[in-house]
Subunit: 277 residues, 2 copies
């Protein structure tokens, strides 16, 4: 059923009880759909939500029918509707919401010369192990972090409540440090991004040494290159973190973004163009 409203008894609204995926779609095809779907399945399984298999074909059909050059598809899956209370019956039918919008424009100079980043004061929670890595619907931390700046920065980086570097508001972070690629292991919270995984696979293919481990914020100062990853913007070099300045798009960043070269720059304006739950 195509609709733009959801019952108020939906547990996504009542509790943030669900997961989501945000996918870049090029020429009518969602990129890395297998990776996104695997994470969605993993999230649903860990939360005990049946995977809404029909959503995948709806997604493919909707994106294919629109056939635009660059779109973003966001799929939200919630546990479904119940009465008041955290308890839920075993046979509950999940709800899902698919929203398709034009992909945001990214000026070419940002990809070439890097983006300005802020270090946020909002801290990423140390979560229960069952939630670590999931792209779940409990996103208040990211919203609080995002309101720390307007448009003077492209992204904000978060430390976790233990003081380690964690991730960006809507991205993962990588450092090039002493010739090695380093990324926070995020054992206690954060989203294990699909593009982060692609970068780790690309690094293996390119025989770059990689460390996924706890990263201290002071290590950012020693890094030769820093870059961000997310599914919509791909690999994005960092030009500055507050007063720290980096050489724009260093050799490792360029090698990796060249290897993951399915991210042409578009100037299409952002804006919602359709909803299909």
């Amino acid at each position: 059923m195509v609709a733009d409203r959801l019952p108020i008894s939906d547990r996504g609204l009542q509790f943030g009880d669900g997961v989501f995926e945000t996918m870049l779609c090029l020429d009518g095809v969602p990129l890395r759909l297998d990776g996104h779907w695997a994470r969605l399945q993993d999230g649903c399984t860990r939360l005990g939500i049946p995977v809404p298999a029909a959503a995948r074909s709806h997604l493919l059909a909707a994106v294919g029918a629109l056939g635009e050059r660059r779109l973003v598809a966001k799929l939200v899956v919630t546990r479904g509707c119940t009465e008041r209370g955290y308890k839920f019956p075993p046979d509950l039918v999940p709800n899902w919401v698919l929203t398709i919008s034009k992909a945001p424009a990214l000026p070419p100079e940002l990809r070439a010369h890097g983006v300005a980043v802020r270090m946020c004061s909002t801290r990423l929670a140390r979560e229960d192990a069952q939630l670590v890595g999931l792209k779940h619907l409990n996103r208040l931390t990211q919203i609080l972090a995002r309101r720390e700046w307007n448009d003077e920065f492209h992204e904000g980086l978060l430390l976790d409540t233990d003081g380690n570097l964690a991730e960006g508001c809507g991205s993962n972070v990588f450092l090039v440090l002493g010739g090695r690629l380093v990324t926070p292991s995020m054992e206690h919270g954060g989203v294990h991004g699909i593009m982060r995984r692609s970068v780790l696979e690309a690094a293996r293919a390119l025989r770059l040494p990689v460390d996924a481990r706890p990263v201290l914020p002071a290590e950012l100062r020693a890094a030769d290159e820093v870059f961000l990853t997310n599914a919509v913007q791909g690999v994005l070099p960092v030009r500055s973190i507050d007063t720290m300045i980096y050489a724009a798009a260093g050799p490792v960043t360029r090698r990796l973004s060249g290897h993951l070269n399915d991210l042409p720059v578009s100037t299409a304006p952002a804006g919602a163009i359709g909803n299909a739950p």
Copy 2:
């Protein structure tokens, strides 16, 4: 506008971006409304959501018009509707959803002899300080904890990710220990309940010594009495925590629940009877 659906672009659904209150209503009047409203205002202020003042008069009118003996009113306030992304404009209009249902029946023997409680393995997150104490819409931890049992327990207790005793799934917890009333200070996460505050005020009035401090789970074993508090069920003695057995409704628990004596037992069945966003 009275409706039972909300736009899919609502940020409560997309991100859990909002707060809620659950209030017991007796004979058409919400109990402790000033306390609930103060926490709602505090939550909205801390999250940067304008307080929807009209919701309070709607709540009073709806509960008064129904005039049932025992009702539960749940008010959800979300930041409102936006396009994709964590960013939000400064002039966003919040959405609110009021749901009124019959209060769940609590058998009199549970209030007299106490409830059986489980110690959950799901851990309460160590949150950013901006979120601590709020009844916000990011409730996945409570949902994961609640699915650890069916109906063999009345409630589950959670430790936080540091290993300290935190709270119940939908309640706060108190211990009577060496003649003192002890409750977790919850400096790093959890909900600062309205009934918890009423108990702390009642203890002061009754000149009971009180400690709000970090509590080790081992201290539960040494406690003479344990009780739970929430807005709907009031003060509820604990009979057992897994294999630990307590004397039913000890003297301190009885004194406090007597002092907070606005909680008659009802046998009305649970069930949603109205929605009014």
